[in-house]
Symmetry: none
Subunit: 321 residues, 2 copies
């Protein structure tokens, strides 16, 4: 196998030296060209229509393999050539708008391909996407299903307490209001490497330990929420020069951990978890509580859950999905 | 120039007839099919390496034009054929990992192309990448700033009326409730090529012409909104087999055009515009109107606007940014 792989690689390297690939494969046996021509698909692990990627699990010569396909970005410097040398199929025409399917010369439209072979079960799990479902949780569902689940799981938020008590990550805190009722610490989220501002991501973690999530909030929490909004925005403006008009400030429901926290992300950054199905703008939360103190305890709230999430199983058992 | 274009177009069409893409446009005027072969690029308005898109401004026969290119999602049902019939150029090999550039047959690797011609300065602005800012629009701001702006601009929604009156895109409608008060048509959004379900994207456009946006909605509109939710979900389940628990159903504020419409996107698809700063879940809209008929006319609503958006300038002039 190793020998075969080596010669395969050498041959491929030779081929790649023959030019831009416009006539790739002509008159040659396609099977010789590619380790993936003998690939047998078992299942798609994940795909993204937005990013034009596909992750497939299968076999190459009886060995477990993963093939990752990703279309390449459209290059500005080849667009003129592409438009001149492609064929188009008209799909739709309406007024000034028309749409086509364009078939470009292959060398202007490559697909980045990554092969992992032999692949282990860990690789498969890493790339497998879980199906997600929208849950509609009424106030009663929260009390009957979600709250008992949260209590039974005794999720550890020790790491949060470590931060609040300066036992960990103390050097990462960029702002703190130490007030036990309306205070919080503000620090960069792990997802942000702090090397550029366009994916700025900070988290405000409240000092009080008796608010698990959005569901617990009432008008009593307005001073806390307004304090986070005002002082969080102010600290980010001071530290990074990013004004409130460039910040998306929101809570998750369900949150990843049941200790109240607020996300601050750059408006330019399409942050994971900032979709309408999971995020709640802090400014909306404040307004809703001003109008109705019971807004979040009584309202049906929609959120996504993965297929193997234990809470999803409880909703299923209760006949709610 | 025109003659060159014509012969170019004829050649292109002949070429397209030799592959599997023969069907489209056969026996029709070829010049209609390849408007982009005579396209001259002026500048790139926007691109996304993540999404594999490119927006170009230029000219077609002295007319202003915008060409939007977007690589199509990788289809699961063609991946076996693609891997068997493509050529690969080895880029890197390290242990169990190797990467290649794959050159696929053109018909398996199309590029969705949208042409807007003649394009106006507004179209150019729409697609030009701009800095964005969050606006907080109170109910009074809407009356004093936004509504006069919408009225003064007289945005054309003729293309919407063409759809509602079956003058265009009639064959694309997958469901219609013809009721003049609570009825709507449901059709695939342009962004969706309908070849796979994971980026499913449909739009419900209401028949009534007197609702510009979320701001106009009151409890009087609950029958309309519930009808869209129920029958839209039902039609999508029937047509595509996608259940309501896999659908994100929402309105935009600000919308792209001021004729009420509702977005239906696959939950798996991280659809552009589905972020919390612009999207409003239909189920939340219904609940909010049930609790308070004036919810959307009185509430401060947050939304993003581009730096050169005329409405943003009005907010600036009013000292609101």
């Amino acid at each position: 196998m190793a020998a075969m792989q080596e010669s395969e690689a050498k041959r491929l390297r030779r081929d790649s030296g023959t030019g831009n690939g416009a006539a790739a494969g002509e008159g040659e046996d396609p099977a010789l060209h590619s380790p993936v021509s003998g690939f047998t698909t078992e299942r798609v692990l994940r795909d993204s229509a937005r990013e034009k990627t596909l992750f497939v699990h299968g076999k190459i010569d009886d060995q477990e393999a993963i093939v990752i396909l990703e279309k390449t970005p459209i290059r500005q410097d080849t667009v003129d050539e592409m438009l001149k040398t492609s064929t188009l199929k008209l799909e739709m025409k309406n007024d000034i708008y028309s749409t086509y399917q364009l078939q470009a010369p292959a060398h202007l439209n490559e697909i980045k391909t990554t092969v992992i072979c032999p692949a282990t079960e860990k690789h498969v799990k890493k790339y497998l996407r879980q199906e997600t479902f929208l849950i509609e949780e009424s106030g009663d569902d929260y009390t009957a299903i979600t709250l008992p689940y949260i209590s039974s799981q005794s999720f550890s938020v020790q790491w949060v307490y470590n931060i609040l008590e300066k036992k960990a990550e103390a050097d990462r805190i960029i702002f703190e209001d130490p007030d036990p009722n309306i205070g919080f610490v503000l620090l960069p989220d792990f997802k942000w490497d702090q090397k550029q501002l366009h994916d700025l991501y900070l988290i405000a973690i409240v000092h009080r330990k008796d608010r698990k999530s959005l569901r617990d909030l009432t008008s009593d929490d307005l001073p806390l929420l307004k304090n986070i909004q005002e002082k969080g925005q102010e600290a980010i403006k001071k530290q990074y020069g990013v004004p409130p008009s460039k910040l998306r400030v929101y809570l998750h429901y369900q949150p990843s951990y049941y200790h109240l926290h607020v996300h601050f992300t750059s408006l330019e950054y399409d942050a994971p978890g900032s979709g309408v199905e999971r995020a709640h703008l802090l400014s909306d939360v404040i307004q809703n509580l001003q109008a109705d103190s019971q807004y979040y305890s009584s309202r049906t709230i929609t959120f996504p859950l993965c297929a193997d999430n234990a809470l999803l199983l409880r909703f299923k058992e209760a006949g709610k999905l």
